[in-house]
Amino acid sequence: MSRPILYAFHVSSCSWRVRIALAHKKIEHDIRVVNIVNRESRSPEYMSKVNPAGQIPALEVNGNVIAESLAILEYLEEVYPQKPLLPKEAIERAKVREICELIATGIQPLQNPKVAARHSTETEKRLEWTEYYINRGFIALEKILNTTSANGKYCYGDSLTTADCVLVPQVFNAIARFKLDMTPYPKIMSIYNSLMKLEEVKLGHPDNKLS
């Protein structure tokens, strides 16, 4: 099998999810930079050759492309089972996926700046929208993590899972982009601070521009 190619951009939170998994599993891969700020993912070339939905991340394997970060994470878990990112037992796996989906469907799409921009042209109203959806999601997430995290270092149990891959970029956005007050979320912060020390997480930090 040839090296997979990841189409990504350094500020894309969904790309960061996949980059954590690739680094954790030590999967050698190539990167193609797709500048979403310049709308490169919406170019006819990208949409016809890579992903009709015009999105990143996308993973190309032997000429075939998979989009949607959670689908990519599941694919990597199946094809590269070393250093697993899901527990073995079915209910435990379901709880990890529940956390992933809570963030990926319940928070990220709604706090997306483009969606906030569609809501209002006023900066204050956009921020209000973003904060509402992040807070709504984090209130639920804090309660769930209090039951699933073994020691405040990882979302589920005491090892890295796909839930952590999805949590990190969302919390980073909340803090760094939107300056959200994280005081009500001590468990989320404990896990986030712990994860941000890991090399596989640091590698995909938005400050590290992709080459």
Binding site: M47, P52, A53, G54, Q55, V61, N64, I66, A67, E68, S69, L70, A71, I72, E74, Y75, E78, V79, A90, I91, R93, A94, K95, R97, E98, C100, E101, L102, A104, T105, G106, Q108, P109, L110, V115, R118, H119, W129, Y132, G137, I139, A140, L141, K143, I144
Partner: protein, 210 residues
């Protein structure tokens, strides 16, 4: 076999995804209809305050429909709702996520209502996000659907479970013009003939297959 209870309500599209899966796999479950999931009481069951939630053996609860679909697939793998080949499995999941994160949350009435009190503006919001999502979906289905009767290849999958309720909402609730999406329309029409799909329709609730 485990005892399953699903907390749901008739119009919940995410719950209908699971009704299809339960019926397709022939799994018995008890349906518990919830009037309002956004209450302190229901949030004890699911802190996120939404349905569906699967309760297993009165002990464990799983929320988020995609997580529940994956659980059912792992524990009750026959008949399968995922192909064998890893790349094909990924394409099924890609379609599920495109709908579950790219369309459904954004077209939700509560989100449209947060955008505006004006019903006309709400309809515009909903229409924008459904159309944006369906344009992307149509492009993907052109590559993945073998014969335009199922989302991926020729077999039933989780992607079909996710497609049906979203198209139903688009057509029946929001009156979206489906002319630009012939593949989506055809797959939807073919799936809606199936009793295991039709039985879970909001107006057939509770599902006949229980």
């Amino acid at each position: 076999m485990s005892k399953y209870v699903m907390y749901e309500f008739p119009i919940s599209s995410c719950s209908w995804r699971l009704r299809i899966a339960f019926a397709y796999k022939g799994i018995q479950y008890e349906s518990r209809e919830i009037e309002d999931s956004d209450t302190p009481e229901f949030r004890k069951i699911n802190p996120a305050g939404h349905v569906p939630v699967l309760e297993i053996d009165s002990q464990h609860t799983i929320a988020e429909s995609i997580a529940i679909l994956e659980y059912l697939e792992e524990v009750h793998w026959e008949p399968p709702l995922l192909p064998q080949d890893p790349f094909q499995r990924a394409k099924v999941r890609e379609i599920c996520e495109l709908i579950a994160s790219g369309i459904q949350p954004l077209q939700h009435p509560y989100v449209a209502q947060k955008y505006s009190d004006d019903p006309k503006k709400q309809a515009e919001w909903t229409s924008y996000y459904i159309n944006k999502g369906f344009r992307a979906l149509e492009g993907i289905l052109e590559e993945t659907s073998s014969d335009k009767t199922r989302c991926v290849g020729k077999s039933m999958s989780m992607a079909d479970c996710c497609l049906v309720p979203q198209v139903y909402n688009a057509v029946e609730r929001f009156h979206i013009d489906m002319t630009p999406y012939p593949i989506i329309q055809n797959i939807y029409t073919e799936l809606m003939i199936l009793p295991i799909v039709n039985a879970g329709r909001p107006d057939n609730f509770p599902s006949e297959s229980e």
